[in-house]
């Protein structure tokens, strides 16, 4: 019996050793895999200075002499970055159907921010609730959120179906300010308008043509406008922030961004009965940003 016990103990020790070696090997292999090819997870971008231009997107540099004729130079922003954008209705994978509407509803509006900005998803990218769906785990200040190309978020998927966004639900565009610093970058009036509502976390403007503009998540206790004010195109409205309140003042967490909405009273032909609904402002904003970068 004692001999049997001793051999049992010997066996157990060998098994232990073998298991440890296997675990070490497996763990080590995974660890090595984990180390190789993983870029550093972007941290908040520095608040000043243009970032280095290391993206593999469209660039403005000299063409290879062996290549086809050189591309014409592309429009750049105030930091010298090439402005690029995905087509309207081209949303992130797993984030809803989008709404491909290439209408420029207002041809002469000002862009709603003073600085260069990044239109992209607050929900399906780094720091968003559903970022993991596209492997975009990280924080909202991840440098990759503060970069071109812009991406449309109109009709981004939420939890209800509706006629304008079948299977979707986000009837606005999300605009990240120039940097991740909140209460720093200004939202401005896109047209001469009247401030017709200041409530909870939104400021609503209306123009003589009936167009409504909703600015959400500004710093509501430091607005530059009040209800009833007439504002001129370019007037500051407030600082882009993360304010999101219920009517009793309870705060709801969200990212630092400007949620921008636009309603139009529109028809296909002049004699038709109009539809007064939210519309996708994406192409209108691309056109306005284009004018802004050209200082037109």
């Amino acid at each position: 019996m004692r001999i049997d016990r001793a051999s049992e103990r010997g066996n157990a020790a060998s098994w232990l050793l073998a298991l440890l070696v296997i675990a070490l090997l497996i763990g080590g292999w995974f660890w090595l895999q984990g180390k190789s090819g993983s870029p550093s997870n972007g941290e908040p971008p520095a608040d000043d200075g243009p970032p280095s231009d290391e993206q593999d997107g469209p660039e403005n540099g000299p063409a290879d002499p062996d290549d086809e004729p050189a591309e014409p130079p592309a429009l750049v922003d105030e930091d010298g970055r090439v402005f690029s954008y995905l087509p309207v209705g081209d949303l992130l994978p797993n984030s809803g159907p989008g709404l491909a509407d290439d209408t420029v509803y207002r041809s002469d509006i000002l862009f709603p921010t003073e600085d260069a900005v990044y239109l992209n998803s607050q929900v399906y990218r780094y720091g968003g609730m559903n970022g993991a769906l596209n492997g975009m785990n990280g924080a909202q200040c991840d440098a990759r959120n503060y970069d071109y190309p812009w991406q449309d978020t109109f009709c981004e998927k939420r939890d209800r179906n509706q006629p304008l966004c079948p299977g979707g639900g986000h009837e606005g565009l999300d605009i990240r300010p120039h940097t991740c610093a909140k209460n720093t970058h200004w939202a401005v009036a896109v047209e001469d308008a009247r401030v017709i509502d200041v409530r909870r976390h939104w400021v609503t403007l209306q123009t003589e043509d009936g167009t409504l503009y909703n600015y959400l998540h500004l710093k509501m206790d430091a607005l530059e406008v009040a209800e009833g004010d007439l504002v001129a195109k370019g007037d500051r409205i407030g600082m882009i922030s993360d304010n999101f309140f219920k009517s009793d003042g309870t705060s709801v967490p969200t990212t630092t961004h400007l949620h921008f909405e636009m309603y139009e009273n529109y028809v296909a032909s002049p004699g038709d009965d109009p539809l007064f609904t939210k519309v996708n402002p994406y192409v209108t904003l691309v056109a306005a940003y284009d004018r802004k970068l050209r200082a037109e």
Binding site: G57, P73, P93, R199, F276
Partner: protein, 258 residues
């Protein structure tokens, strides 16, 4: 009963097992993170490759500009007819109701002077029928801002629900382009009749509001409800907003002359 040595062996086994599990789990987590990063990086570079840029010189136009803005002729006669129709419905309802007097849906005159927070001058400036939904809290908190050819009325409706009703007699003509037409057709296909104004309406909803849109008297209108929680039945279901739109006040019944 085991000996002390046996218990020691079992413990060693348990510790080794736990260590193995931890290491494999840790390794798997690191691997999953890497896989995620690689997916995200691949996606980011695919997006960058697909992105469009703008030429610095001689750029092509962006998108398709809306053609023009036109002004609708407001049908003031139709407005007065609608008021008269509601009055007739009320008389008929009172004659047929046996116990409680039922209140039929409709549009009723509610002159601006009757609301303490409404500035009458704003109402008088408005060159289209100025509509807002009825309601006890609405009546006490209603404000109107006018831009002449357009207006908005805002109010608290109930705890946790506020509203904005906007109207415009100017229309943006976007043209007969397939994408715009398809979208408009899809929305029209969802329309239902609004009994109060005898006109079709469509409801759309998003995280920020639930909107009921219709056209009447030549103008376009949208009633928006903003709920603290978009899942609140008052915003998530149509019944509440349709109920509000079923009893509409006309704040400028004298507008448009005789």
């Amino acid at each position: 009963m085991g000996t002390g040595n046996e218990r020691g062996d079992v413990m060693k086994f348990q510790i080794a097992g736990a260590l193995c599990t931890l290491m494999i789990a840790g390794g798997s987590y690191a691997y999953a993170q890497t896989a995620n990063r690689q997916n995200a990086d691949a996606l980011e570079s695919e997006l960058k490759n697909r992105a469009l840029t703008r030429a610095a010189v001689d750029p092509a136009p962006v998108g398709e500009a809306a053609k023009e803005t036109v002004e609708s002729a407001v049908n003031w006669i139709e407005m007065r007819t609608a008021l008269a129709l509601t009055a007739r419905r009320e008389v008929a309802a009172q004659q047929t109701a046996t116990r409680a007097v039922s209140r039929p849906p409709g549009m009723r005159a509610a002159p601006a002077e009757t609301f303490k927070s409404v500035v009458v001058r704003e109402v008088n400036l408005t060159r289209l029928p100025l509509l807002a939904p009825e309601g006890p809290r609405v009546a006490g908190t209603l404000k109107v801002y006018s831009l002449g050819d357009s207006y908005s009325a805002t109010a608290e409706v109930e705890d946790g629900v506020s509203m904005r009703m906007s109207g415009s007699r100017r229309k943006i003509v976007v043209g007969e382009r397939p994408a715009a037409l398809a979208r408009m057709r899809a929305m029209r296909a969802q329309e239902k009749p609004l009994a109060s104004l005898e006109t079709p309406y469509v409801v759309t909803r998003s995280d920020s509001s639930t909107d009921l849109s219709f056209s009447k008297f030549g103008a376009g209108y949208v009633l928006s409800l903003m709920c603290d929680d978009p899942a609140d039945a008052r915003c998530a279901d149509d019944a509440f907003i349709v109920g509000l739109a079923s009893n509409i006040m006309l704040l400028n019944p004298e507008a448009g002359g005789q």
